[in-house]
């Protein structure tokens, strides 16, 4: 298998008053196509920050993120937006669904973001069809017209996963996807991620829970901003 994403010496620090807080202290990492990687670490270890940098939601102070052989730092704004839209799908711990949109509209958000007002009428049908298929697959066929506040936490997270998969991204990035759910619901979400991975979807999941991490094929452990272990199982 080949690496679809590689990082070299990623460093990130934040200024906290007079002090400089070093969150990431040089991380070299790569993920290969079809892998299911869990990144674990205590709170404050820098795992979420690292995930945000991989998803181009944040920028590193130093180091490189190479995706498909291209350095993200050299991407222009348009290409970076396209990267966020098509190459990666992001699943947030707190779902981050838009209250004004229903379940289907939240799911097709990445498709709408990539469509002009003129091109949308032609793309609307196929986009809604894919969104409906994804949502039905995740057991939300009866919830298509519901608003996010009418859904349970597990349902919201499944909508969030459907949204992340809408544009068939190369890499699915999940930031504590079960962190806000009870154990049964969290287990359902993990089953979804496992199933997606079995179908070939590359998944990188951040968690602080070792039991959840054990569901992945490979576990990377961060501590004090450094990668301390990287083992496959």
């Amino acid at each position: 298998m080949s690496a679809i994403l590689t990082t070299r010496d990623i460093r990130k620090s934040y200024r906290m008053g007079p002090n400089l807080l070093e969150v990431l202290r040089g991380i070299d990492f790569s993920v290969e196509a079809g892998e299911f990687v869990a990144m674990v670490g205590a709170s404050g270890s820098g795992k979420s920050t690292f995930l945000h940098i991989l998803g181009a939601l944040d920028t590193p102070d130093n180091g490189e993120v190479i995706f498909g052989g291209h350095n993200l730092a050299r991407f222009g704004r348009g290409r970076l937006n396209e990267y966020r839209n098509r190459s990666v799908g992001f699943v947030f711990q707190f779902y981050h669904l838009l209250d004004e949109l229903d379940v289907v509209e939240n799911t097709i958000l990445p498709a709408m973001a990539a469509s002009s007002i003129l091109s949308w009428p032609a793309r609307r049908g196929p986009a809604r069809q894919r969104a409906t298929e994804l949502l039905r697959r995740f057991g939300l066929g009866e919830r298509l017209k519901h608003k996010p506040y009418e859904l349970s936490g597990g349902e919201r997270q499944r909508v969030s996963i459907a949204r992340a998969l809408m544009n068939q991204p190369t890499l699915l990035l999940a930031d504590e996807p079960t962190g806000n759910l009870d154990s049964k619901t969290g287990n359902d979400i993990l089953n979804v991620l496992e199933q997606l991975n079995r179908e070939g979807q590359t998944v990188l999941m951040v968690t602080h829970d070792d039991r959840i991490a054990r569901r992945a094929h490979r576990i990377v452990r961060l501590a004090d901003g450094r990668m301390v272990t990287d083992r496959s199982q």
Binding site: R84, F90, M112, S115, S116
Partner: protein, 452 residues
């Protein structure tokens, strides 16, 4: 322009109560501006129109009470010009008015008019109550045509005006005998008579009243036949004098061009008279457009209008600030949404565009509602005022005090367009800063609640 911008902008508008408050605040401001600007503009335009109609297009006049000589010759020149529709000489002076046996008297302004000429040069005929159809006979009292007549400004007669703005008129003018006194002056400005008989006195009878709508005119001017007034002020004689010539141009002649041509004619005429007797009196004469001539009356009202516009500009600034605060609150609450949009590939410019679409919707709907509401209110404003007066005895302007008929409610589409566009611009201005602030954030920052 991407699809999601439109969908979210429309949803933010309908689903958020604070957005509807923003629409309401824009609508209210636009409503107030439309109503006040229309009424204020109407008052000023009406006032300017009354002044214009009263004096004609151009006035050749002197401020001197002595008047100027050779006006009749210049009048003959004017009569030969094809760009002039009418020219009328006027005598102006000051005197005293009283009644036989009365213990009162009042200082008045006396105008001598040649009615046949004056109705060609001005709209004076329309100010008359009893002789609008045959204004040339307005100095003939209908109750006794053999008596010398006079016209009084309508507000000189006490208690004629009702509080609702209407005037009481008996079927024919009351048979008032009036005594008018004036000081005759020599061409050099001295009293024409010496000794005890300094004053010319006339007995005249009320033949009509004039309602020009100009308070200072209607409240203090007595109109006499031209020759009578000329005699009264000592302006007749071997070299007769006049105070002014009022001129009306043909409709195709522009005001500025017409006044310029009259000015040239006057200068040539003045030059040709330079060696004649009392030619120095011609040096005091000015050729003015009606606007310049009535500047003293119009300017305070225009100043008031300017002040009003300034006050409404201040209101506009407050509106922009209110919209800014509303947008700041909306966008602060929507920080997470902006983070999500950025995480799925919407550009910072796309976020700004979405907020500007939202602002445009607020401005268009709020502005539209304000304009519609203002237009409906203005269409009903006089009915509403009448109803308030009948049921509550309340009036915007007490018509027995102010020379205002109906409240002006003529809507000018260009003014509405300017007000509507200003509301839209105010919304853009209010939304721009928070929108840029939101768009500048890195996606991960925007995803943190309350970050803006």
């Amino acid at each position: 322009m991407i699809m999601i911008q439109w969908i979210l902008a429309i949803r933010y508008l309908w689903k958020r109560r604070i957005s509807l408050l923003a629409v309401a605040s824009v609508a209210l401001c636009v409503f107030i501006v439309v109503v006040v600007m229309t009424v204020m503009n109407g008052l000023v335009e009406e006032f300017r129109g009354k002044n214009h109609r009263f004096v004609g297009d151009c006035v050749v006049s002197t401020e001197s009470l002595v008047g100027f000589v050779y006006a009749d010759e210049f009048l003959a020149i004017l009569d030969r010009q094809d760009f002039i529709a009418g020219a009328s000489p006027v005598i102006r002076g000051y005197g005293l008015l009283t009644q036989p046996g009365a213990e009162w008297n009042m200082g008045v302004e006396i105008w001598g008019l040649n009615l046949a000429r004056h109705i060609q040069a001005t709209d004076f005929a329309q100010t008359l109550y009893y002789h609008p159809q045959n204004p040339t006979t307005a100095f003939v009292p209908s109750y006794n045509p053999s008596l010398p007549g006079c016209i009084l400004g309508i507000d000189m007669m006490p208690d004629r005006r009702n509080q609702d703005g209407t005037y009481y008129h008996p079927p024919q003018p009351r048979q008032y005998e009036l005594i008018v006194s004036g000081f005759p002056l020599t061409p050099k400005g001295g009293l024409a008579r010496i000794g005890t008989d300094l004053v010319n006195t006339l007995h005249v009878y009320l033949s009509d009243d004039s309602h020009s709508g100009l308070v200072k005119i209607d409240g203090r001017v007595v109109y006499l036949p031209f020759d009578t007034a000329r005699e009264l002020f000592g302006m007749a004689g071997s070299i007769p004098r006049s105070s002014a010539i009022h001129i009306r141009f043909r409709p195709s002649v522009g005001l500025e061009a017409g006044c310029e041509r009259v000015g040239r004619l006057w200068n040539e005429f003045k030059q040709s008279c330079r060696d004649r007797e009392y030619a120095d009196l011609l040096g005091e004469v000015r050729v003015q457009s009606w606007i310049e001539n009535r500047r003293g009356a119009i300017a305070p009202m225009e100043k008031e209008q300017t002040m009003m516009i300034f006050l409404f500009l201040m209101l506009g600034v407050i509106t922009v600030f209110i919209i800014f605060v509303v947008f700041y609150m909306i966008i602060s609450h929507k920080s997470k949404d902006i983070g999500v949009l950025r995480s799925v590939g919407v550009s910072p410019a796309g976020v700004v565009a979405m907020m500007l679409i939202f602002a445009s919707l607020v401005g268009l709907i709020g502005g539209g509602l304000g304009i519609a509401g203002g237009s409906v209110f203005l269409a009903r404003i006089n009915t509403l005022e009448d109803w308030l007066y009948e049921t509550r005895g309340w009036q915007v302007w007490n018509r027995s005090v102010y020379a205002i008929g109906e409240i002006p409610n003529q809507i000018h589409p260009p003014v509405l367009i300017v007000i509507g566009l200003s509301a839209l611009a105010a919304c853009w201005l209010g939304a721009l800063v928070p929108a840029f602030q939101a768009a500048r954030k890195r996606p991960v920052e925007a995803l943190q609640p309350g970050i803006l």
